[in-house]
């Protein structure tokens, strides 16, 4: 069952930026990674889903509720962690959580908030102003999760968290997923997406250029190739799909984009004594999508 569904969703600012027709589905119980550099349209997508920005066209549903006609129900079913601290700094963490829970009509969830705070090692009693950046972020995570939302939307959630806190947070997210919750994780930190998500969507200039499983992306998009020639190395740089070529005597290492069969055809006529082909890291996959002229297929899904 799709918990988040976007159908040709479009929201454009006056300067032409924004999102230009996103189509995407996220399943129940999934941690979905939403990847893209700053300015690609990640936050705009999230803010449109939460009703902060009205879409120009297209539709979207979150937890079965239309984002335009039933925005209150969408926000009731959602826990949101913005990319920057958005809590009132004059409040204590407890007050911020209490306010959020009262507005959501579930003040009894304060016990869950206390448990989350304990898990994340954050004291909710001091004023948020007096907390470090990382502690504030933890308090914001508690506010986002305290009401036990069906859908959790996180925008760059690990900003300011130390590695230990990140581990605790990731463990928490995995528990949420195991409990059937859906997590929409927007990030440009590829390692965290790689750790948490099975599927990712890659957004570029407001267009989804790829939606796929992390493993499939690694397999399909870029390969690390190392070749050793018997004599002088061939001019691999002139071969289609080859880039980042590094020549070391008769040994050549390069990245290959495209169907591996095409490369094998090339190699059949070359005097190669050794060859290895490896999967790239997600970061390399991601970079490949952001090279000029790559991947702007639009309307993924």
């Amino acid at each position: 069952m799709h918990v988040i569904e976007l159908e040709n969703l479009r929201m454009e600012y006056a300067n032409g930026r924004g999102i230009h027709g996103l189509t995407l589905q996220v399943e129940r119980g999934e941690i979905f990674g939403f990847l893209g550099p700053n300015g690609a349209g990640k936050s705009t997508t999230i803010r449109t889903l939460l009703g902060m920005l009205a879409p120009d066209a297209g539709t979207a549903r979150v937890a079965g509720h239309d984002i335009v006609t039933d925005g209150v129900a969408v926000r009731r079913a959602t826990g949101y962690l913005p990319s920057e601290n958005a809590l009132y700094l004059g409040m204590t963490g407890e007050e911020a959580v209490g306010f959020s829970l009262r507005v959501r009509g579930c003040p009894e969830r304060m016990l869950r908030a206390a448990e989350l705070a304990r898990r994340l090692s954050v004291d909710l009693r001091p004023r948020l102003r007096s907390l470090s950046h990382g502690q504030r972020q933890k308090a914001a995570i508690v506010v986002a999760l305290a009401h036990d939302p069906e859908v959790v939307i996180l925008d760059e959630p690990t900003t300011g968290l130390d590695p230990l806190a990140q581990e605790q947070f990731f463990a928490l997210l995995r528990e949420e997923r195991d409990a059937g919750k859906t997590v929409f994780l927007s990030s440009h930190v590829l390692s965290e997406v790689e750790q948490l998500c099975k599927r990712v969507g890659i957004i570029r200039d407001g267009l989804l250029v790829e939606v796929n499983e992390v493993e499939a992306l690694r397999r399909n998009r870029v390969k690390h190739v190392a070749l050793t020639f018997r004599g002088a190395a061939a001019d691999v740089g002139s071969w289609p799909g080859c880039s980042e070529v590094r020549v070391d005597g008769s040994r050549v290492r390069f990245a290959f984009h495209g169907p591996i069969g095409a490369l094998l055809e090339r190699l059949a006529g070359a005097d190669v004594v050794d060859a290895s082909v490896g999967d790239p890291t997600l970061e390399e996959v991601f970079r490949a999508f952001y090279r000029p002229g790559q991947g702007s297929g639009g309307g993924g899904g």
Partner: protein, 269 residues
């Protein structure tokens, strides 16, 4: 007040408590300071002489002793009460301009707008908090005035002062509602604040000039300040129904307009 609306109102009052306390304390102290100089009214003849030295236009603005049955009322009116609508309009305008603009500037809008309430509900609750705060400022000013007069044994028309404060509250609410609408249009809190002050002070000056020059009363009504006239309310004991009705009607229209605009507004990151 309980439930969602109560939580929103309390949160807004909490957020604005510092400026609210400052305005209430300053108003109460100023009213008290003015009232503490009221020994001058022990001899109304002195007042009349002092007033007689003023140009005709100023006398028209301040009123005349014979217009008042009570010398204390006259003193309070020309020394203090005529400023009350302006004080409320200034507080209301500056507070209203910050109702949404501050959240956008401090980036707390992301938190507030992700809560499961409609924007209309949010804005209406915040304006209700502002109305309560404005009422608290007027109550503080009234108590400062009345308590100081009472402590000196001055027999003012306390009920009429209360009616004047109530009328001023309604007029100030309308200014706050106008500023709220301006604030949704302006880019940046600082720029909006200047517009708010200009709105409150500019229209007050229009009313002052209109009174001094014996201009048409409609001009005073149009800028709203003319709806609360100390000579009528305190001097003749007329309840300021015009201020109450027109102030609340203008408030309702302007807040309704703001709710519609805010409902469609794109709150940028």
């Amino acid at each position: 007040m309980t439930g969602v609306t109560g939580a929103l109102v309390r949160q807004q009052l909490r957020e604005s408590r510092l400026s609210l306390l400052l305005w209430a304390a300053a108003s109460a102290l100023a009213a008290s300071a003015v009232a503490s100089t009221a020994e001058a009214v022990a001899d109304p003849r002195l007042l009349r002489e002092w007033l007689g030295q003023l140009p005709e236009e100023m006398q028209r603005l301040l009123g005349r002793v014979p217009d008042y049955e009570n010398a204390v009322d006259f003193f309070v009116s020309f020394k203090w009460l005529y400023l009350m609508p302006l004080i409320g309009a200034l507080f209301g305008s500056t507070a209203a301009l910050g109702l949404i603009a501050r959240d956008i500037e401090r980036r707390t809008a992301d938190f507030v707008l992700s809560l499961p309430v409609t924007r209309a509900h949010l804005l209406a609750a915040r304006f209700a908090a502002l109305a309560i705060g404005l009422g608290a400022v007027y109550l503080a000013a009234y108590l400062g005035l009345a308590a100081t007069l009472w402590a000196q044994g001055m027999r003012g028309s306390f009920g009429r002062y209360a009616a004047f404060h109530a009328g001023s509250w309604c007029v100030a609410l309308a200014f706050a509602a106008a500023a709220l609408r301006l604030g949704l249009r302006s880019r940046g809190h600082g720029a909006a604040m200047r517009w708010g002050v200009l709105l409150a002070v500019g229209t007050f000056l229009v009313d002052v000039v209109n009174r001094v020059t014996a201009g048409p009363r409609a001009v005073g009504w149009a800028v709203l300040y003319g709806l609360v006239d100390a000579q009528e309310v305190v001097g003749r004991g007329v309840f300021p129904w015009g201020a109450v009705l027109a102030g609340l009607a203008a408030t309702g229209l302007l807040v309704g307009w703001s709710l519609r605009v805010f409902g469609r507004m794109r709150v940028a990151a």
